[in-house]
């Protein structure tokens, strides 16, 4: 399983032709306490850069963009009742959506972990 990153601080974990998407621990820390997450409906399709979800912290609202093209096959309903999971486990239990990838080659345009670390340092 490979993990890729966007410059907008989303992570993408690829497993076959499915990808799990969330925001990075760095992004969650910058946002502060997350109090609400608005997730898309299952079945919705996105192109790279489309606004896919919204995360609200005490401070402000931030958009989460689709890192790659795909159709939503699952969303993390747990975040509805426990949005703080995004802070507690940004790259684990705090995932946002699972996408069925429509063009895996798009992953090549994303950063690997080393490049992302350089991006935020």
């Amino acid at each position: 399983m490979s993990v890729k990153f966007t410059k907008d601080h989303e992570w993408v974990k690829v497993d076959g032709d499915e990808a799990t998407v969330g925001i990075t621990a760095y992004a969650a820390d910058q946002l502060g306490d997350v109090v609400f997450v608005e997730l898309p409906d299952v079945g919705k399709s996105f192109e790279p850069g489309d606004e896919m979800a919204v995360v609200e912290s005490v401070k402000a609202a931030s958009e989460v963009y689709a890192p790659v093209s795909g159709e939503v096959v699952a969303v993390n309903d747990v975040l509805e009742g426990e949005p703080q999971k995004v802070n507690e486990s940004a790259d684990g239990d705090g995932w946002f959506v699972k996408l069925k990838l429509s063009d895996k080659s798009q992953l090549d345009g994303l950063m690997d972990e080393a490049a992302y670390k350089a991006h935020i340092s």
Binding site: G32, D33, V35, F36, E38, V54, E56, S57, V58, K59, A60, A61
Partner: protein
């Protein structure tokens, strides 16, 4: 890094507690020209700590001044009854323009016995406020801007125990009392007031001693440093207006539901700025007025449009998550017919209409100490 596209040469100011904020690990942010602490451990934790124990805020960016001389000349600009303000008392008042629009909200008090008034105004408006006060009292009064003092606030149910342990006389004060006290040779101006809805104090300290006093307070485990983020969520839950957002020059005290801040004799004498217009609007009822609202889900933020049956009826002026309430809270101006508790309407968030309803303020009960 965001590119602001400007080449702002204005130097950002620091308060006397700046080094302490950095040492305590604050995330700093520019606010009203100052580099201020946004948060330390996190807004939610800081908010809850203030409600449960005691929070220490640096509000040194606010404007402090000492006014002496003809008080009638100063009183003409504001809404307080200065003749009724006794030594040791503080009042919340409004600085109005000639149309009755709100230039600022401020505290005026007599901590110095008979020696004039102590004034605290908002940071973003202090230059304009003080220029306005000085020019309108020129020749008959003197406004001395205090630039060599820090201002801190200690707020929360443990504030009186924490500060009282250092200064026993402070524990004897009640809400909106003020005075000058000596703390181990340091002269403090203290008032029992604040901006969180909790019991607590605002404490003016000579700049050179500010860090030592702050460290003494923080030496008590019940007190923690609190940033501007939690200051905003605390005041919002307490239903307290933020100048420039919940009221401004285009709003009168009638619309802002701050008529209680106009002293009764001033209303009767019609001698505050814009009195004729304000009292006419009070009699006729305003077209819109300030209300509080609650909702579930995502919090509505400032600027969000309020609709009812497809028509725009208002706008959100402050909004966010209220950690004590456990949900979104906000303030808005709505058409008068909807400014009634429990009235339901919708707020447009990213194009979607979200249900919300008018809710009585404060959202969290005030816990001021009245003796």
């Amino acid at each position: 890094m965001p590119d602001t596209g400007t080449n702002d040469m204005t130097e950002i100011l620091q308060t006397p507690l700046h080094d302490l904020h950095v040492e305590l690990g604050a995330k700093m942010t520019p606010f009203a020209g100052y580099d201020m602490p946004l948060q330390y451990e996190g807004i939610m934790a800081e908010h809850n700590h203030t409600r449960q124990s005691a929070g220490l805020f640096d509000v040194s960016h606010m404007g402090q001044a000492h006014y002496t001389g003809d008080e009638a000349a100063l009183e003409k600009l504001i809404t307080a009854d200065l003749a009724a303000l006794k030594p040791g008392e503080q009042k919340y008042t409004l600085l109005l323009n000639d149309e009755g629009g709100i230039r600022d909200d401020l505290m005026v008090s007599r901590p110095f016995g008979e020696d004039g008034l102590y004034i605290v105004v908002n940071a973003a408006t202090k230059a304009a406020d003080f220029a306005h006060m000085a020019s309108n009292t020129a020749g008959v009064g003197e406004l001395r801007i205090i630039e060599d003092r820090a201002l801190i606030a200690l707020q929360g149910p443990a504030a009186a125990d924490v500060f009282g342990a250092l200064l026993p006389a402070a524990a004897e004060m009640v809400f909106m009392q003020c005075g000058v006290f000596d703390l181990e040779g340091v002269e403090l101006y203290v008032s029992r007031s604040g901006y969180t809805g909790e019991d607590g104090y605002e404490i003016s300290i000579p700049a050179a001693n500010a860090e030592a006093v702050a460290r003494k307070i923080l030496g008590d485990d019940r007190a923690k440093p609190i940033g501007l983020g939690a200051r905003d969520s605390l005041r919002l839950e307490a239903g307290l207006c933020l100048y420039g957002h919940d009221m401004d020059e285009n709003r009168t005290p009638v619309e802002a539901t701050l008529m209680w801040a106009i002293a009764k004799p001033r209303r009767e004498r019609l001698d505050f700025p814009g009195a004729a217009r304000v009292m006419q609007m009070f009699a006729d009822k305003p077209a819109r007025k300030r209300i509080g609202f609650t909702m579930s889900g995502a919090p509505a933020r400032e600027g969000a449009e309020i609709v009812k049956d497809g028509k725009t009826i208002g706008v959100v002026t402050s909004g966010g998550f209220g950690p004590t309430i456990g949900g979104p809270v906000g303030m808005a101006y709505v058409d008068l017919e909807y400014a009634v508790a429990d009235t339901e309407f919708e707020i447009l968030l990213r194009g979607k209409a979200r249900p919300a309803k008018v809710t009585k303020m404060p959202f969290v009960e005030h816990r001021f100490y009245r003796g």
